[in-house]
Subunit: 409 residues, 2 copies
Amino acid sequence: MTMLRANTQRVLKDLYHLRSIGAYKTGVHRPTLSANDMIARKWLADQLLAIGHKTTIDGIANVYGRAPADGPIVLAGSHIESQNHAGWLDGALGVVYALEAARVAKETGIPGGVDVIAFADEEGHFSGASFLGSESFAGDISEDAMDGSVCRSGRGRLRDLLANAGLASRERVKIEPERYAAFFEAHIEQGQTLETEGLNIGVVTSIVAIWQYRITFTGIQNHAGTTKMAIRRDAGKALMGLWYRIEEEFPEISGQHSVWTVGRVKLSPGQPSIIPGSAEMIVQFRDAEPATLDRLKAKLYELVKEAGECPCTATIENMGESKPAQMSKALQSTLIDAAKIHAPEKWLIMPSGAGHDAQVIAPLIPSAMMFIPSIGGISHHWTETTCDEDIAKGAQVFVDAIGRVMSGG
Amino acid sequence: MTMLRANTQRVLKDLYHLRSIGAYKTGVHRPTLSANDMIARKWLADQLLAIGHKTTIDGIANVYGRAPADGPIVLAGSHIESQNHAGWLDGALGVVYALEAARVAKETGIPGGVDVIAFADEEGHFSGASFLGSESFAGDISEDAMDGSVCRSGRGRLRDLLANAGLASRERVKIEPERYAAFFEAHIEQGQTLETEGLNIGVVTSIVAIWQYRITFTGIQNHAGTTKMAIRRDAGKALMGLWYRIEEEFPEISGQHSVWTVGRVKLSPGQPSIIPGSAEMIVQFRDAEPATLDRLKAKLYELVKEAGECPCTATIENMGESKPAQMSKALQSTLIDAAKIHAPEKWLIMPSGAGHDAQVIAPLIPSAMMFIPSIGGISHHWTETTCDEDIAKGAQVFVDAIGRVMSGG
């Protein structure tokens, strides 16, 4: 077996180049279909053309390069746009690792090849889908969904921004599952586990499901001075009571990796001298185990029912219950084999608490995800970063693992 | 002693006329210095001129009419502007009662007279003061404060709106405390006590103080999927913990009439998938007893200190601690004497949970406040109302009580 070896200087050079496109402090600002995002996409397309890949930026801005090769083909990639004013590696790392794997595979001359993809809008700048680009690639985005999608930051309709980018008339590429032996995606961890434990590589077992609910309390809006405590129907206080019970009771029934968050609360009208007449909260929880998800959901519904009995009413709306995505056991072993060479005893198997395009691709072809450390676990902020050594080590494991799949082991 | 008797048909006619100026559904929309507010002020000034009062709309839009009389002078009034899209009686009732008292005093020909005032902006449309008009009348508003005051709804600077209304060059009238035997203000209750107990008249003992605090929690903003529960520093959860303890512990130490409210809560950044890095709440409480206020404040500070120990920090900012205003005991007795005639066994002594101009005037001259019922306790909303019979009964008590003061009893 020929081991594929990454050119880590080339990897770092490419990442630093991408960091210069839409630079914001030490991070980047490249929202999907912004001018700088399109510069980054065209740069990637040029790199793929330069190694002979048949390359397109498709009708939803996915950048897709097909290796002109016979033999086992691996698909690799991630996303290239960023959150607003966010980190330089989130997405870009996995794209550059994929590009490097494609180059090394070609240079090494082994049979097969690496197709590279940069999915559009993994970061969710546009409405209508959780993962617009990968869901389009998987065949899950209708023309109607495209029509209705708008930028969540007010930059306009998806269709108009695609037209401005010159992509309006292009077809959207769909996956050919039979073409691929595997899909590989690399990413920064966005958490502190690897850093805290002094490790280099996370081999992802599964991508957790996100279940999210909007809970609305209705009471009676009234004057905060003239309304006695005993007759108040304070929607804010009712919300607080539910929140308290969630934080008390979820730890009793959650799994080892469960997380839950109340990230948004709104009291109406939100004035210091007015008793809130209505109040809304969004409760989200994540886990990879369907039984745990079901247990947390049942508890939440039970608590909402109790919280809505008196003196306010409560309703709960399901905002989305995604499925956990299992990564291929065989590909986990392949990543572990590579990690044992390049980062011996410095790897860990772990679930992904964040969502990734790999969860959309996993139902279609065997898929794998690999993490490298995030300093301080910081994510979706311009201070996000990782040291060059960890980036280099990750590239070696990633490229080696892909080579093993192409070699049939 | 000559009993003054209100012409209740005239009172109702005037109130219905004011209701037609800036009518909004069944209420009114007359923010301070709006075109309709100025129409109402000019209407009032005309009524006062018609009974021979020396009348001005002064440099802050207070409408002030002086009775051309010898003998005991009573000051009476309230405010004439409304909250946005609010009720027809809040403010207007007390102004029309005062106008009626002035008319009846003149018509009856008893010695003395009733000066009438409609204070500007009791409803707080402009920044820089809690009670702009009455504080100006009391001599508490500087020219600098006038310069800095702006409309909270974005209609511009106070100075510019006064200039548009033709009031820029006018002096601001100051109270001559030695002129007055008393100040009387009538108002709808803005609560449900009178209605619930089937009563007609509330004799106000004191106007409660409002103490208000901004509490800010600082934690660490992080990814809601990749940050384990054990290492989170969730500012929102910390805020909820304090809120829970306030609701648990305040009932143990509050007074009979104490009220407290969390009307505003803000989680930052307020996204479902981001652990709040900071969180802010405004806690307000009201009571007429200084000892109770002190006790609630000490408890709040103690709870904030505990809440800020781990894992988030907490700070508390004093946003204002007003003084409770005691109404004159003698004038309470006068109101009770009148109530015993016109609403026997249908009156109650009670504190005012809401703020009123009378709290600004009370430190300067003996002051009294009288409430009539509010249907459903609704206030600051266009559905606010009171039945004609209650309005008429209130006018009789109000005018009679003023007559008793003018007669020296």
